[in-house]
């Protein structure tokens, strides 16, 4: 069955059709949840919440965007809710930079960025960003969502989304090209 047919069936209450949509998009949604939360434990909660929300709202899906893009937006919203709750319970700073636990030079992104394993280092540098900056850079630069959609799902203004993106890119650049930054500052 094509995805459009599955969506139409799910909108009529066909659970089996919705389950199939879950199977088709699960790895993608889980990956986004991991990128947004920075860890698999939180991603598990976010991904389940996202699919529950999607099931409740499937009747409202009009097909103007792709189903995967619709799921990205729901996942972003679920992640923002989850991180806000976690922040209240654990009083973790959402804005401050957390220091990497392993400080050996060979594990630091700045010195390792030019290695063959670049993608992994960028992913690790994203994980080191504060959640508020991480969410925006992941949704915009990795998943290509428009600023308006990002702002709506994260519950912030478009201007705030743009400012956070600017700060996130700058921090990533500093993390990954630290030596270049020093040279430039001379």
């Amino acid at each position: 069955m094509e995805q459009a047919e599955l969506i139409a069936a799910a909108q009529q209450g066909d659970r089996a059709a919705f389950d199939e949509l879950v199977r088709q998009t699960f790895v993608d949604t889980f990956t986004l949840a991991c990128r947004l939360t920075g860890n698999e434990e939180d991603a598990r909660d976010v991904v389940q919440d996202a699919y529950l929300r999607a099931w409740r709202a499937i009747g409202k899906f009009r097909g103007e965007a792709q189903f995967s893009t619709w799921m990205y937006r729901i996942t972003a919203n679920a992640s923002a809710t989850h991180l806000r709750k976690r922040h209240r319970h654990r009083t973790e700073p959402l804005d401050e930079v957390t220091e990497p636990a392993d400080m050996r030079p060979e594990t630091q992104p700045a010195t390792a960025f030019d290695s063959a394993d670049t993608l992994e280092h960028v992913a690790a540098a994203i994980n080191e960003l504060p959640p508020k900056l991480r969410s925006v850079v992941v949704l915009k630069d990795v998943y290509d969502l428009p600023h308006e959609a990002i702002a709506e799902e994260l519950g912030i203004s478009v201007a705030a989304a743009k400012v956070r993106l600017h700060r996130a890119r700058r921090r990533l650049r500093d993390e990954l090209y630290e030596q270049g930054a020093e040279a430039h500052a001379v």
Partner: protein, 124 residues
């Protein structure tokens, strides 16, 4: 413009959604440092885009747990819908009875008033 002023603008300008002003453009054209800095941001953006297809394998059993959670939620929803349907039926029955009672009472009052009222022929 100075290099640090241009460098501060590059994170926003790199994706091309905001056009740079002429002063920035001229500076970058003639400044090797800023060209290198712009190239770093471009490379960063390209790498970020590649992450889209670098999937993370879900923890074993998570798909099954998610499907089970959906099943449970669907059952709860069905039960709620049945209960709210019953509530509507009860409310409808109670409302109907109340309307019928009020109508009967109104009828009885009207009749009793008609019987109790003095007739015109007696008055004259």
């Amino acid at each position: 413009m100075r290099c640090d002023e241009v460098a501060a603008l590059l994170p926003t300008l790199v994706d091309g959604t905001v056009p740079p002003n002429l002063a920035v453009e001229h500076h970058v054209e003639s400044c090797l440092r800023c060209q290198a800095e712009l190239a770093r941001y471009r490379r960063l953006l390209r790498t970020l885009q590649q992450l889209r297809t670098r999937y993370i394998e879900p923890t074993p059993g998570l798909l099954g747990e998610t499907l089970a959670a959906l099943e449970e939620a669907a059952e709860r929803r069905a039960v709620r819908s049945i209960l709210s349907g019953r509530r509507l039926k009860y409310a409808g029955a109670i409302g109907g009875t109340a309307v019928a009672t009020a109508a009967t009472a109104a009828l009885l009052i009207a009749r009793s008033r008609r019987r109790g009222a003095p007739s015109l022929s007696l008055a004259s």
